[in-house]
């Protein structure tokens, strides 16, 4: 099991992700996007950061690099993929996951801990949690507002493909608890396959005990679960 952490110019959460996965005993290698996906890759993590300086739209350029074609092929063969923050934006821009993450409602970069309600506890990325459980993860993004068409959103809800929604400490999904104006308070979704997941909050920043809360462990464990 070797997870490829794909670095683009401007990625900056790649080493955090590597350290978090190592802590969980999950093999991972940092892979430069121009070098292509290594043979024997058994998972793909698209890390956070600001690939291509967020030019055009966050994630738009990285989503159209040749390595993403290899990622698409790997994913179609059942390799699990997790996109975090900029990696989530790349996942949506590449069409691996639905919708788009765009400019926060308040037009500000937001860096703060948020509460998330687990919407579906049956995916590889959320099996460590109970449905309805409230966890706390940090966010750090300027373009994290989830937008999807009404039909897409309805499909996601009907098919149980929403992983997390922003909520308050008690698990109430309210406008006040929505840090960026995301449609339906959505913070993370899965693609056509539950093995493909993206989320704006940072599980890798909530995994090492030395850094405080470790609510993100369950998400990263998805690589071992898939």
């Amino acid at each position: 099991m070797t997870v490829a952490i794909v670095r683009f110019g401007g990625s900056n959460c790649d080493r955090d992700a590597a350290r978090a996965l190592a802590h969980l005993g999950i093999d991972a290698d940092l892979v430069w996007y121009e070098d292509g996906l290594p043979e024997g890759t058994t998972g793909v993590l698209l890390p956070g950061g600001f690939s291509y300086g967020d030019y055009l739209r966050a994630g738009a350029m990285a989503a159209r690099t040749p390595i993403m074609e290899e990622v698409r092929e790997a994913v179609s063969e059942g390799v699990p993929l997790l996109g975090v923050c900029n990696g989530a934006q790349i996942g949506c821009e590449s069409g691996l996951t639905p919708g788009i993450f765009t400019v926060n409602e308040g037009a500000r970069f937001q860096c703060e801990p948020v509460f998330l309600r687990v919407e579906n506890g049956e995916t590889p990325w959320t099996r460590a949690y109970e449905e309805g459980e409230v966890i706390e993860l940090p966010i750090a993004h300027g373009e994290g507002r989830f937008e999807a068409t009404e039909e897409e959103l309805a499909t996601l809800e009907r098919e149980g493909r929403i992983l997390f929604r922003y909520c308050d400490r008690e698990g109430r999904v309210t406008d006040e608890a929505n840090p960026n104006g995301s449609a339906g308070n959505v913070a993370g979704v899965v693609g056509d396959s539950e093995r493909v997941a993206v989320l704006m909050p940072h599980p890798e920043r909530a995994t090492l005990p030395d850094l405080g809360r470790t609510d993100g462990v369950g998400v990263l464990r998805g690589f071992a679960e898939s």
Binding site: R64, E105, A148, E152
Partner: protein
């Protein structure tokens, strides 16, 4: 082959929130300008050689479809003119 400029204008679909435009509108109001609404758009001017205006437009459309616009939130329009 003829030289053309294809201008691709990418706008948010009606109803999609634009926080940057909203912030700009408020800043204009702070400068005491009176306005009802403000919409922002991205304009890409693409110089290219093509067999015909239709060919130039077709290629610009493909660029918009594949990269410049995101269909979830954007509409786009294309105007092609011959370049001096």
């Amino acid at each position: 082959m003829t030289a053309y400029t294809a201008t691709v204008t990418v706008r948010l679909k009606s109803g999609v929130l634009d926080p940057e435009a909203e912030t700009t509108r408020r800043a204009l109001e702070r400068l005491e300008f009176d306005l009802d609404a403000l919409r922002a758009a991205d304009v890409f001017e693409i110089d290219l050689e093509a067999d015909s205006s239709d060919d130039a437009e077709r290629r610009a459309r493909e660029m918009a479809e594949r990269l410049l616009a995101n269909p979830t939130i954007h509409d786009y329009e294309i105007a092609v003119r011959e370049r001096e």
